[in-house]
């Protein structure tokens, strides 16, 4: 893995050297601890954003790192290690939502049918973005977090959910609109576009 020491990377984009990976593949506990110190925070943050519960996020981090200690023997370095780990985290989060029966209907209309109504806006937490995020349906929240914060493309989301690209675009657009309504209940028909824009 080529590493540029002057380049500052954060979250799952951080790099680890090949020797640490080789030692981790051999079951070296110190190397596992190094990987944990590097990636536990992005892993936990992603889980918190998607699941909204510290207990559930801890379970995700534990599951992911236990799987990592076994699965790292199969990691061949075709993709950056952080990206590989992020995929494991996302899969674990989806599994947990499914196990809690929190994966909502496929139909975008039904998905938002039971979401909090715009009129329920709470002035006190209008800018508490974590609070607002948790008011979205779990699947919508997952799509929003993955696309807008974790850099997933609609093509990748389509593969992840077994849906079309227009499906995740529709969910994303509705999620943004709903968030906007919660933030500014007096404004309605305003065009919202994702940021930063990706395909």
């Amino acid at each position: 893995m080529d590493m540029n020491p002057t380049e500052i990377r954060t979250g799952f984009a951080q790099l680890v050297d090949e020797m640490t990976l080789a030692r981790a593949r051999r079951g070296d506990v110190a190397a596992h601890a190094t990987l944990y110190r590097t990636y536990a925070r992005p892993c936990y943050t992603l889980a918190m954003r998607v699941l909204g519960s510290s207990a559930a996020a801890e379970d995700i981090v534990q599951d992911v790192f236990l799987k990592l200690m076994d699965a790292i023997r199969q990691y061949r370095g075709d993709a950056p290690f952080g990206a590989w780990l992020k995929r494991m985290t996302v899969n674990a989060a989806i599994d947990q939502l499914r196990s809690q029966r929190h994966i909502d209907p496929d139909d975008p209309e039904l998905l938002f049918a039971n979401a909090a109504e715009p009129g329920n806006t709470l002035a006190a937490d209008a800018y508490d973005v974590m609070g607002l995020l948790q008011r979205l349906p779990p699947r919508a929240r997952l799509i929003l977090v993955l696309h807008e914060l974790e850099g997933y493309t609609h093509k990748e989301l389509a593969e992840l959910f077994g849906q079309t690209e227009s499906y995740s675009k529709s969910i994303l657009s509705r999620s943004l609109r709903r968030l906007q309504e919660w933030l500014r209940p007096d404004t309605t028909e305003v065009e919202i576009s994702p940021w930063p824009s990706r395909s």
Binding site: M19, A22, R25, R41, R76, L179, Q180
Partner: protein, 151 residues
Amino acid sequence: MAEPELSLKALRLAALPEFDPPPQLWARIEAAHLRRRQRRRLVQWGAGMAAVLTFAALATLLPSAPTVPVNGSPLAQLQRQSHELEQRYAGLDGTLADDGETELRAAELALQRAYDRGAPAEELLPLWQQRNEVLSSLIAVAADGAQLTRI
């Protein structure tokens, strides 16, 4: 004046906080990992020599996997080779000689120090080569059931 285009940045979602896991979480994960390893070892011993003999027989009888063309830099090739050796060695789990373990750890420590100080590829190459040689020796030793003696 036109309404500014709304975005996640405008919604302040880009400022979502990050979270640190609780400090004791790693200790819990380590403990869970240790428990799993102990359970697996028990299962392995329970299976006993039959599994080892079956594996050895299969390894002898099955044709070797086709060679995949190796691409990339010499360093990448050595790392790939190292990975393959690790996997072969892992298949011989439980046959580790103390001397070999010490030598392997020494090779790995030298590599880790080289990475930690940002050593160039020219410096890393012989160190990976050395690690591969130790791993190859350990595999050979494990196959012979002998002791590792390096002069």
